[in-house]
Structures are given as structure tokens and as C-alpha cells.
Symmetry: D2
Subunit: 171 residues, 4 copies
Amino acid sequence: MPHQAIRILATGGTFDKEYNELTGELFFKSTHIGDMLQLGRCHLDVEIETLMMIDSLNMTDADRRLILDRCRAVPEERIVITHGTDTMAETAAVLGVGLNGTARTVVVTGAMVPYQFGSSDGMFNLGTALAFVQTLPAQVYVAMNGRCFLWDSVRKDKKKGVFEPRPRSRK
Amino acid sequence: MPHQAIRILATGGTFDKEYNELTGELFFKSTHIGDMLQLGRCHLDVEIETLMMIDSLNMTDADRRLILDRCRAVPEERIVITHGTDTMAETAAVLGVGLNGTARTVVVTGAMVPYQFGSSDGMFNLGTALAFVQTLPAQVYVAMNGRCFLWDSVRKDKKKGVFEPRPRSRK
Amino acid sequence: MPHQAIRILATGGTFDKEYNELTGELFFKSTHIGDMLQLGRCHLDVEIETLMMIDSLNMTDADRRLILDRCRAVPEERIVITHGTDTMAETAAVLGVGLNGTARTVVVTGAMVPYQFGSSDGMFNLGTALAFVQTLPAQVYVAMNGRCFLWDSVRKDKKKGVFEPRPRSRK
Amino acid sequence: MPHQAIRILATGGTFDKEYNELTGELFFKSTHIGDMLQLGRCHLDVEIETLMMIDSLNMTDADRRLILDRCRAVPEERIVITHGTDTMAETAAVLGVGLNGTARTVVVTGAMVPYQFGSSDGMFNLGTALAFVQTLPAQVYVAMNGRCFLWDSVRKDKKKGVFEPRPRSRK
């Protein structure tokens, strides 16, 4: 496969939650994606950019607009977005519509367990996302649980914490 | 992406090395791939089969023949092979020639750090391998360092522990 | 040192906090002290008893009365109490007064980082507590940061998350 | 307990074994005791000194003489020695005889699992050793498995990897 430049847009989510040992609370500081790529011995040509560090339950329309704007503006055509899982499908839908017809391949991914607490699923998902983004045609996808879903046919089963296919809505 | 059955053939390698706390030596017992998929919250349709549990420096021609035979015999057309990194490219070459013209997509992957010692690169590589195997056309590949190489154009830089492109040899 | 039976009374605290990956919240389920002793290859004669599983900020006078009652009732004269750090000194004071004149050696200890998130300080503190409880005379102590404090001369510096000596109050 | 200065003499052993991901072999580089004390949030007054970084099976009489000399020479009367478990009892015996009649309290400890592989028993043992060294009278001890043994009445059961009492030999 030819070496292609990849942009990672970090927005927070469980990936980047940290434990504050003074207050006993979870919080965000800065992204761990760089550390994760180093642990993964990743040698791809990757640029990491932090857009926000938030729980995806708190993500606003303006935040999603910013993510979409950055997807359009960055020079790379291959983009991975790290994102909280709760509203991942919602953001993917905004991007799916907004990037329709462009040459962008966008893969949104996340984690169920924070990196700092030994997030094996974060390492695994980041691996799948970086592989899918290199190989799939221009579209917006969600990569979770080893699987890759088109933005318009995925939903999170919040009881099980698992992503699954959703029948595409017809007009 | 349609859900496709995947076969994982485990052969050992650093992935599955364990530390014997009584002797202070590294050894093989059984594969950790199942645990890794569980930690990764993987929901793919995966069948794990252990072919051998060895250091790839000890892999013989007969071992490679066995791997090739299993790649031909298993019902799944998508196959991931976990393998020691030292002779991974060699095994990939045997499979590349032997599976030429078949409908098999085979991805060989490995780890630099044993799973039992917190192998973040193992989780990452396994993620990339499972994604590549779902999306790439029938051929034999090596997936390491986030990248995917065709079997006839990869080599391991043993000083750096990194896989890199190798110019295809011409006749 | 003669082998002496030790009772561990678990009350919760950071030691035993877990991460709920479905809700993203921290919660209590059951104590990890048994797992920790196994990882520590501990071969002491230890009996673990869970009295409550709570954040020590929520500990009531009735809870402390229960802990005191159990310290008096258990057959072992050597007792370790695992406890949240926020009100550890307060509980130690209740026990110090209530057990005055008995043959009980009681060591209260805790952790800054949950076991489930790789609590190295939990393993370390549990080690110190079990050693102090075997060697110190009948009294009530707090063991944190490698140090051991008498119940009436310790306080937590909440800004630093560190326990330190407190001048004994005079009448 | 009054704050007392403690010297830690590092000699290697499983504590400090590392995995070389290029060769797949275990080796020694430098001690992790400082990192372990930091993870343990230890606030004792501790000085760490590396005497050697070896497997205790390779420890010579000259090495043991050096350890004994340092125990006599250092200003601190409280000394913890980190050591491979295989010949720990042997070194303790050399020190027990050689320090007889001095004011030194010496605690020898070790680990069954390297720190780098998540050595929970290392953290636990280091905790017990630092507590025992603060509280026990001048003598030479082995601290393993949560227990503390006098130098002349301990042996390692190599089949189980556990330390246990040994009847003192009579003349």
C-alpha cells in the first residue's frame, strides 16, 4: 500500500479520560493518541490535532460543525476522528452528509475504557481505524468492535455497549 | 461492510510468550488471541485455531507447509496469521507463492512485546490485521507498524525492529 | 516472626472503585483485596471481611461504630482496615479512642488510585500495612506513603494527597 | 514513628529485569526502584544506590562481600536490599554473620515478576520491606510473601517459588 498521510482529529471521549487522584473524579487534560501510536510502534505518516477534549454527551451542533470544517480544511484525504461513543453515530451522520461528494475517507472511532486504565480496546480500535482509513473508499465510517459501518447504517446498543448495523431509513 | 467469517491461525511468536516466574525464563503455553479479542471488545465472526506455539526463529519448512495447507483447507476466505516477527516475511513469501490464484486474503501479523507484559503493540497490530483482512483483495500481506505490505515487498529491519518496504526483486 | 492470624476489614475507598464502561462512571462492586494478596504472592494467614463498599466521604457515625464493633469482636488481634483516604484519619481516631486498652493492633490504609486502574500505590500500601500490623504494639495506626502514624497525630494534606504528621492536640 | 533515613541497595534480580524487544531476551539496564517508590507515593526519606545489576544465580562471594561492606559503610542504620530470589537466603546469611553486633537493621527482598511486566508482587514486597525495616530491631531479615524471616531460619521452596521457615541448624 502506498504511504498516505493521515490526519487524526482528537475530540476527547473515553480514550482520553483521566483519573484525578486528588478528587477521585474523571476529567480531560490532553490527548493520549500520540502515546498510543508510540506504544503501537506505529510508523504511519500521522498528524494529530486536538479539536476539543470533551465527553461526547456534551458535544454541541457547533462542535460538530467545527469537526466538519476541519475535515474539509485539512490537506490529508484520510482522516481518523477519536470520539466519545455515546454520540459517535450522530457526529458520523453530520459528517456523512456534509462531506458527501468529497474525496475524504473519514473513520470515527472510540473506546469503552480509558487509555490510562489500560485501554486495550482503545489500542485495538485505533489499529482498526487506521487500517480502514487506508483501504476504504471516500465515505464516512464508524469503526468499533473490529467492524466498520457506513455512517448511515450504524447505532450503539447502549445497554450492551456494542455497535451494530442499523437498517438504513428510507424516504 | 458485510459480516464475513475470519479464521485466525495462531503460530506463537512474541504475542504469546509468557514469563515463567519459577525459572525466570520465557516460554509458550497457549495462545492469548482469544483474551485479546475479548479485551478489544471485538464482535467479528472469528474462529481461532492454534497450529503451533513456537518462536519463529525455530520455524521449519514443514511448519510453513502446515500453515499453507491450513490456509488452503479452512472454509474462511479471510485469514489472519499471528507469527513471530523474525521470519514473518519468509512465511508470507511461502504463502504468497502457494496461495497464488486462490480467493484467500491472508494477513500475517505479530508483536514486539508479549501480551502478558502489556503488549499494546499486539492489540494495535491485531486491530490493523483484522481490518486489513476485511477490506483488501485476495493476496498475502504483512501488517506491522500500522502499515500493510504485500508479501513480496517487505522486510524487517532487525536493528530497529521495524518493518519497511523492500524493492521487489526482478528476474 | 511467628505466624499470626490477621483480619482485613474492607470498607471500600479508592482501592475498590471500578469503572463502569457502559455509563462512564466510577462505582463499587466488591473488594479486590483478595486479588491483590494473590498478585502479591502473600502467604500470610489472612481473613478478608467486607463491612461496606463506600466512598469514605459518605461514611457515617453508624458506619464507624460498626467498624469499631467488628474490631472488638473478631478473634484476630492484628487487624488491617482498607478505607477511603478522605476520612481515614477520622475513622482511625474513633478506633483509637474506642479500642484504648485492648490488645488490638489496627492499621488503617488506603489507595490514591483504584486497583482496577493499575493501583501500584494500593499494592505498596497494602504491603506496608500488613508488615506494620505484624510488628507494631497494640494501638491504632494509619499507614500511607510508606509511613505509619499513630491515630492521634496524622492528617491528610488534601491538596497534595499526602499524609503527614499532625501535632497532637494538648488540653 | 519517627522519620528515619533508609538506604536501599539495589543488586538486580527479577525486580529489574527488562524485555529486549529486538532480541526477545531478558536483560538488566538500571534499577526501577525509584519509579516504584514514586508509583507507591512513598514519602520516606530514602536513598537508592545501585551496587550491581545481576541475576542472583550469578552472584559471587566477591559480590556478597561488596554488599556487606556497603551495609557497614553507609550512614543509615536502616537498609533494604533488593535481590534476586534464588540466592537471597545465602546473601542474607553472609550479612547476618557479618553484621552481627552492629546497629544495622537489614531487610532483603525481591520479586517473582519483573516490574516492567506489571510486578504487583514487587510493589507489595517493597512495601513490606520498607515497613519491616522501620519497625524491627537490628538484625538481618528476608521479607517475602508478606512475611519476615530471620536470616538463619529461611529457605526458598524453589518448586513453589515461596519462602518458608527453615529450622535453625544446631551444632
